[in-house]
Amino acid sequence: MAVVSSPRKAVFNRLAIVGVLIATIVFLAPIYWIASTAFKPRELATTVPPTVFFTPEITPFIKLFVKRVQMTKPVDKATYDAAPWWEQRIYDGGERVLRTGGAVQLSAYPDRFMNSLIVAVISTILAVGFGTFTAYGFSRFKMAGEADLLFFILSTRMLPPIVVAIPMFLMYRAVGLNDTHVGLIILYVAFNLSFSVWLMKGFMDEIPKEYEEAALVDGYSRMQAFFKIVLPEAATGIAATAVFCFITAWNEYAFALMLTNRRAQTAPPFIPSQLGSGLPDWTTIAAGTVLFLLPVAIFTFVLRKHLLRGVTFGAIRK
């Protein structure tokens, strides 16, 4: 901490810390809620008032990954004793694990999770890649109607996407993109491209063009100069843009719900579909959500330095 210069400033600093602390608690409370629910016994998940102290268990995560069915009559003692510990937890909940032959049937969750990863990663790479090249072009070359083109790119974000949901659905069905990875990837690239172009243009504008000119004079082509000099300089911007695009694609719910149902379904529409019959099993849903949060959290954490720079870019000058 810097040396505090005056008592008034000291008081202000304390107040600021208290304010930040309160804000942090407010923002983290839902995450705490979902995370704690994921480890609760099912009967404690919906108590009023909420249960704060409980013995954590991992039954919700076990349930998340195996296919189960409600039992009509209780399991007999011999079978119960012969079952492994995790299967006993399922029996305790009045359900049994489905098997084909001797093998446990996995639930659809790992597949849906994988779909989310495939769609989000590929669409992010494409959106950021196209965005970087496009932004470089806009930043470095004069072209006719440059401002209009940039505005056109931005205008693709002015319409709330859900407005076009039904035409999108009909078109996708007509061309057979329904329930395909490619379909979702195209959609998310289109969502993110305008954002990626604008953000990357800001970063490109900040890279002095003298670097490339020096490389040109030193005997390199424009393409070589771009890859050797510009791209490493733009790494921060690329990382920040990638985080934003990834989060958007990862979290998207409405179109994924409408355009996919089995093969290419992503995790967001899948998790609530697990509400199941009878009483909703909130603990399993919470477990699915917690696992779903992890990739974004890890990705953001790894790139946090760039992200901070990305959020404040423009404010920093050399």
């Binding site: 000119e213 020096a214 490389a215 004079v217 030193d218 005997g219 082509s221 490493p232």
Partner: protein
């Protein structure tokens, strides 16, 4: 190494004309300084030669070959930028080997190392080779930037005010070094500056640029002693040449309300009588009790070995260089005269020097 020829080159940026119908010849192995105020088009000319910009009209010829359709890389020139523009995240060594690793050349590892060693020895940056460029001082950065130019053997060295961001001491030192370097390498240098001291001290030849056009090309002595017009006369020399309006008649110029009368020689003597501008440098003024014209000391600037005295005659101010040991006090009366052999007589309308011819 090669000579450079600009043939009626014009460059327009939208409605703005940066370079206007400019022709220039730079001989092989010459240290040519392009001198001009900010916005005169100096940097544009360098960029045109390097190929970073394309001329709107005219040709650029390097070593006898028309460069118009050549790419930047093919031209094989070296350019030192005003703001160094060293590659960030690279070490000094990586910066120096960058031009050598281009596909245009194909140097072996041993040759690259040898060239880097030679260049860094000349520029005294051998101890900095493994350092990152953001850990360098301004002078070191500029040395590395120059090093990046000299590791290969370009046809021409182009330098865009490379010393202007350095402090005075360093600038003086690097000025001498650069001139020395050019002697050693024997290359063709085109050095752009707005600093007339750099131009006078380094250039084999100086081209004075005004508003996208060449005002005068010559040796530093020619530029200083025989300025072709009032622009060159006032731009070169510190303090600037004194210019006062006068009338030419019968081989004499009468100026400052008849208080200063100077005989003029050369072509001006036979020129048509009429309004002229009389020009004389501060060091060509003598101050003493026997001189013809009376003036009041307006201001004194002490420069150590000499002092620049501003004289007031009526409504006119004239600067004179006086030895430091001559006592002058502000608002005292002095007498002065002008060395008739050194005065210049400019056409009042066109500004062209009538004396030099």
């Amino acid at each position: 190494m090669a000579n450079v020829r600009l043939d009626k080159v014009t460059k327009q940026f939208g409605a703005h004309t940066a370079v206007r119908d400019l022709s220039l010849d730079i001989a092989d192995g010459e240290f040519f300084v392009l001198l001009g105020p900010t916005g005169a088009g100096k940097t544009t000319i360098l960029r045109l030669i390097a190929g970073l910009d394309k001329p709107t009209a005219g040709r650029i010829v390097l070593g006898g070959e028309d460069m118009s359709d050549w790419t930047v890389a093919q031209r094989d020139v070296a350019l030192v930028f005003q703001y160094y523009s060293l590659y960030p995240r690279y070490t000094v060594r990586q910066n120096l080997e960058f031009p050598l690793k281009s596909k245009v050349h194909s140097y072996s590892r041993a040759e690259i190392d040898e060239r880097i060693e030679r260049a860094s020895k000349i520029l005294r940056i051998s101890h900095l080779l493994e350092r990152k460029t953001d850990r360098l001082s301004g002078g070191e950065m500029q040395r590395v930037a120059i090093g990046r130019a000299i590791v290969r053997e370009p046809r021409v060295f182009l330098m865009d005010e490379p010393l202007s961001n350095l402090d005075a001491k360093l600038r003086e030192a690097l000025r001498a070094e650069l001139k020395d370097l050019q002697m050693k390498l024997g290359g063709t240098f085109l050095f752009v500056t707005h600093d007339q001291i750099e131009a006078m001290s380094m250039g084999d030849k100086v081209g004075v640029l005004n508003d996208g056009q060449i005002a005068q090309v010559g040796t530093p002595q020619e530029i200083y002693n025989r300025p072709r017009d009032t622009f060159v006369a006032t731009f070169v020399g510190s303090p600037a040449m004194n210019l006062v309006p006068g009338d030419l008649a019968g081989g004499k110029v009468t100026a400052i309300d008849g208080k200063l009368v100077v005989p003029v020689n050369g072509h001006a003597g036979s020129a048509q009588a009429g309004g002229v501008t009389l020009g004389f440098r501060s060091e060509d003024i003598r101050v003493g009790p026997d001189e013809a014209t009376e003036a009041v000391v307006h201001d004194v600037e002490n420069h150590g070995v000499e002092q620049i005295v501003t004289l007031r005659i009526g409504g006119h101010l004239v600067k004179a260089t006086v030895p430091a040991n001559v006592p002058v006090t502000v608002e005292s009366k002095v007498r002065f005269g002008v060395d008739a052999a050194k005065v210049h007589c400019f056409d009042a309308k066109t500004g062209v020097n009538l004396t030099a011819g």
